[in-house]
């Protein structure tokens, strides 16, 4: 059974409290017991308790699959990018290097790339992914767009991300405040006008402050 088309994963890093419940729950999951597929990092503990959870974003055109020489990574019809198939994966780490979100992990012992498959064993039978079920702050949340609009009226969500020239759309949605515009950030926007014309030149100017 596919994951219902109207159910999505929503991530709101503003809500994250860094408790690692998702990390523990992920490693208790039936398909990959003992291994967590979630990355949970402090942005900079010295300055803030802010943490950011990263799960697979389940790209519409997954870069990991595109660069896989063994065709081991499949995206199913329901938009879930599955973990590498053991029979095919050659542990080359192409996907690990190519993923713009830094999601896949190479399990050297298993010679296998492992990553979040949105708890396919759960979501394909109508359950929520384990991490989103337990997340105490609901920074990780699974539901319909309508539910999230009702629950979180001050926020909206994005699922298109720009990395240089590459724009990636994903099945996973990231919550952002409604009142702030969705920006495409470019370092040059913050430089003064002269430097902005040729930012690289400015970087190499001697004595640049």
């Amino acid at each position: 059974m596919p994951v219902p088309a109207d159910r999505h994963f929503f991530i709101d890093p503003r809500r994250c409290i860094g408790c690692q419940s998702c990390v523990h729950a992920c490693s208790e999951c039936d398909t990959h017991k003992g291994h967590s597929m979630i990355h949970l990092e402090y942005v900079g503990r010295g300055d803030s308790p802010q943490t950011v959870p990263t799960i697979c974003m389940h790209c519409d055109s997954p870069t990991c699959a595109e660069v896989c020489p063994a065709d081991a990574i499949k995206r199913t019809e329901d938009g879930v990018v599955q973990s590498a198939r053991k029979a095919r994966c050659i542990a080359c780490s192409n996907c690990v290097l190519a993923c713009p979100f830094g999601v896949p992990k190479m399990n050297v012992g298993f010679e296998l790339m492992m990553k979040c498959d949105m708890c396919y064993d759960r979501t394909s039978v109508g359950l929520k992914p384990m991490c989103a079920t337990v997340c105490p702050s609901q920074a990780l949340c699974f539901g319909t767009e309508e539910e999230i609009r009702t629950l979180r009226p001050r926020s909206t969500f994005v699922h298109a991300f720009r990395f240089g020239q590459q724009t990636i759309s994903t099945k996973v949605r990231v919550m952002v405040p409604k009142e702030s515009e969705v920006l495409s950030l470019d370092v040059t926007a913050a430089l003064n006008e002269e430097e902005a014309k040729d930012p690289m030149a400015a970087m190499f100017t001697e004595g640049n402050p």
């Binding site: 408790c19 017991k33 010295g46 079920t133 702050s137 629950l151």
Partner: protein
């Protein structure tokens, strides 16, 4: 007798703490459980619903329980990993009896022999020194049934007045403050009122780490436009995204509440109608807070004046609100005053007893609420009855089938019990669910007192640091090995279900207590056949009291997903929200919503005083302590769960870079914290998320890593809660790693 027979390391080698990780059928994804048991997490007062997977009388994993209405499946890391405490290599499967020649100082004994030795030891001390010479220390992680039985055991079987519990370190300031102001001690509202609040005020509560699933309630309020105000010396995860963060100087919360009330009065942000109709004492409090203008408040609290004004404006002008506090303001030598200060700003706003208008303390221990209601407190009888009240004694004596005069009078608090050991009044001890060597302040004293005891009996499932001093250890039960009820943070009574049987020769705690009573020759009143029978007696004992459970049945609790007390009749659905305008209670009898004869709440003057030990030239830094998200209380359970220990292996000294730089300490350096009681050497964690005049150390660890060896045992004069949250310290860079670093694993 109770000297440690062997070195710590030898005892640790045999009894742990060792770490358990998922392995065997707990890792094998092909294993189908025999059954899935709906019950609750045992770590903290939230009591999240959880389902435990059972195979061959072992718990092999968990499944979220999304239908339970409080947490909807949400769990913190402790909940996710709690199942790993079962089938643990350190689990006590047999009784232990002290034997100097045995490995680790104990020999295994058959259960019946251990019961006999325990009873003989208790009887000998009482025969020689009187009934009060044996004290009983209990815990607020016990079910209501066990808590009730412990109180009855102490008073009816042992006939001792000396019983107290580790809720003394947790909720007693809130309890005393609530009783003074409201006449009742319970969260005033269900948590479902939090999302409807326009302002959520959180004082001294590290919600994200100590009550993690409450975070979602707070964030939901925020999604609907609420302002969140957080008062804490540290920028905790919940403080990070607060609309206003007030980094209060430790021990100054009353000053802040008084300053807020000052501004509310000055700006006319008082619900005059509510104050006149439903309260007394406002004028005295108003006169008192006149002395707290913003400038003085800012000076005392160390918070910028403009932030204080902003907080007062948001609180003062809110339509709806919810004030939460916990140990941050309560663990203080003026903890009750702090709580009264908080309640004053709630009463002045008139925002209580209505949807979206609430107030609560966040209980910390598993049964923090129920554990303080049914008679294991030194001054209390079941139903939250006062032990000194003749009518209460008569009611309970009737249920117990004894004369009112046979119930001993009030005893002393848990810390004072140890002082009585020093003075010779207490010579024997029975303890369950309490690890004072780790959890009480100035714990070197506690350790010396344990060594001084003539006889000590422990009931526990692991040999914790305190139990190492025992003469007899009786193997008891984990929460998932017995049936019962617990009253969680909201005042909702929930069902704990038995998932597995106690292993080996371990017994359910209530059976152990009854076996002891029988061996002591005082079996009468201790012949319950099940926890349910105990609950039915508890219902009768609580009937007519403030914490009235008489209308509850286990069926009703299961059907309703919990019943909020008071629930005085079987057809009564329970009371989720207290103080509703036309509500009836047995004290006011219809005169008003509060639990006093006139039905009115009390404003009580909250007087500011600094902590018992403030920083000075010799000890210039505040030391404060608290929890981390991956550990629970003294760590008896959570320091044995591998993945939780790996998350935050050992305590660190949090300090601001400004302080660290002055001391020449870098992130990760070993540093020594010294107070008037001793030293503690740990690694430093240099972070900008703490006041530069304050350091923080979490308290869950034992031995040389235990901060409670150096905390202050000053207590609140009313609640007797110790002052964990502020004492004076100095810090220096250590020359290198202390010897323990290479001798002991992090959790040991």
């Amino acid at each position: 007798m109770a000297h440690l027979p062997r070195s710590d390391l030898e005892i640790i080698g045999r009894f742990g703490p060792h770490l358990a990780f998922p392995e065997g059928d707990r890792l094998d994804r092909g294993v189908e459980p025999d059954r899935v048991v709906k019950t609750h997490c045992c770590f903290c007062g939230q009591q999240c619903g959880i389902q435990l997977k059972v195979k061959d009388n072992r718990i092999i994993g968990f499944e979220p329980w999304e239908e339970f209405p409080f947490n909807h499946g949400l769990l913190c890391p402790k909940g996710v990993r709690r199942y790993l405490q079962g089938s643990h290599p350190d689990r006590l499967l047999r009784a232990l009896v002290r034997d100097e020649r045995a490995e680790g100082g104990f020999r295994p004994a058959c259960y019946e022999e251990a019961i006999r030795l325990a009873a003989d030891g208790i009887a000998r001390v009482q025969r020689e020194h009187g009934p009060d010479a044996v004290a009983v220390l209990t815990g607020a992680s016990l079910t209501n049934e066990k808590a009730y039985l412990m109180g009855k055991f102490a008073r009816v079987c042992l006939k001792t007045s000396n019983i107290d519990y580790n809720g003394r370190l947790c909720m007693v300031s809130a309890a005393a403050g609530n009783k003074k102001a409201f006449g009742i001690d319970r969260a005033a509202n269900p948590w479902s009122d939090i999302p409807d609040a326009g302002v959520v005020w959180i004082s001294g509560a590290n919600v994200a780490e100590c009550a993690p699933i409450t975070t979602d309630y707070v964030w939901q309020a925020r999604e609907r436009g609420a302002k969140v105000v957080v008062v804490d010396p540290r920028m905790t995860p919940i403080a990070r995204t607060a609309d206003l963060f007030l980094p209060v100087r430790p021990g100054r919360d009353i000053a802040l509440f008084n300053g807020i009330l000052h501004l509310m009065i000055e700006n006319g942000w008082i619900d005059r109608k509510f104050v006149e109709t439903h309260t007394t004492g406002f004028d005295e409090v108003a006169a008192h807070v006149k002395e707290w203008p913003p400038r003085r408040t800012a000076e005392a609290t160390g918070i910028a004046e403009r932030a204080i004004r902003q907080a007062a404006e948001w609180w003062g002008t809110a339509e709806t609100s919810f004030l939460l506090h916990s140990r941050g303001i309560e663990h203080s030598s003026h903890g009750v005053q702090n709580v009264l200060g908080a309640i004053n700003i709630v009463l002045a706003s008139g925002r209580i007893g209505r949807p979206g208008c609430g107030y609560a303390t966040i209980t910390g221990q598993a049964n923090g609420q129920g554990g303080r209601e049914h008679g294991q407190k030194c001054d209390q009888l079941p139903g939250a009855r006062d032990l000194s009240d003749p009518a209460a004694r008569e009611h309970v004596a009737k249920v117990w089938g004894i004369a009112p005069g046979d119930i001993p009078g009030p005893g002393v608090d848990a810390y004072e019990i140890f002082r009585r050991v020093d003075q010779g009044g207490v010579r024997g001890l029975v303890s369950i669910c309490f690890n004072p060597v780790v959890s009480l302040p100035d714990s070197s004293f506690v350790r010396r007192m344990l060594e001084k005891l003539d006889f000590y009996v422990v009931i526990d499932f692991f040999l914790n640091e305190t139990a190492r001093h025992a003469d007899v250890v009786l193997p008891g039960s984990l929460q998932e090995e017995d049936e019962g009820t617990i009253t969680q943070v909201e005042g909702r009574v929930i069902r704990i279900r038995r998932a597995v049987d106690p292993p080996g020769e371990a017994r359910e705690d209530w059976r152990v207590i009854q076996d002891l009573a029988k061996a002591l020759g005082r079996e009468k009143g201790f012949t319950f056949a099940s926890p349910r029978e105990i609950f039915d007696e508890l219902r009768r004992a609580s009937a007519g009291g403030i914490a009235d459970y008489s209308g509850m049945t286990w069926e009703k609790i299961e059907e309703q997903h919990g019943v909020f007390w008071p629930c005085p009749r079987e057809e009564h659905a329970g009371t989720p929200r207290l103080f509703e305008p036309d509500s009836w209670n047995p004290i006011a009898k219809g005169k008003g919503p509060f639990y006093f004869p006139d039905g009115k709440a009390r404003f009580v003057v909250a007087r500011y005083a600094p902590p018992a030990e403030d920083p000075d030239a010799d000890y210039p830094i505040f030391l404060t302590s608290g929890r981390v998200v991956s550990q629970y209380l003294s760590g008896t359970q959570t320091r044995r769960i591998g993945p939780l220990v790996e998350q935050y292996p050992e305590p660190r000294i949090e300090m601001h870079p400004r302080l660290a730089e002055r001391l020449g300490i870098g992130d990760g350096d070993w540093a020594t914290v010294e107070t008037r009681r001793g030293t503690c050497t740990l690694k430093a964690q240099v972070v900008r998320t703490i006041r530069p005049d304050t350091i923080f150390i979490p308290y869950h660890w034992a031995g040389p890593r235990s901060v409670n060896r150096i905390t202050n045992s000053a207590q609140d004069p009313i609640s007797k809660i110790p002052e964990y949250k502020a004492c004076a310290a100095r810090v220096r860079k250590a020359e290198g790693p202390p010897p323990y670093a290479s001798e002991r694993e992090a959790q040991q």
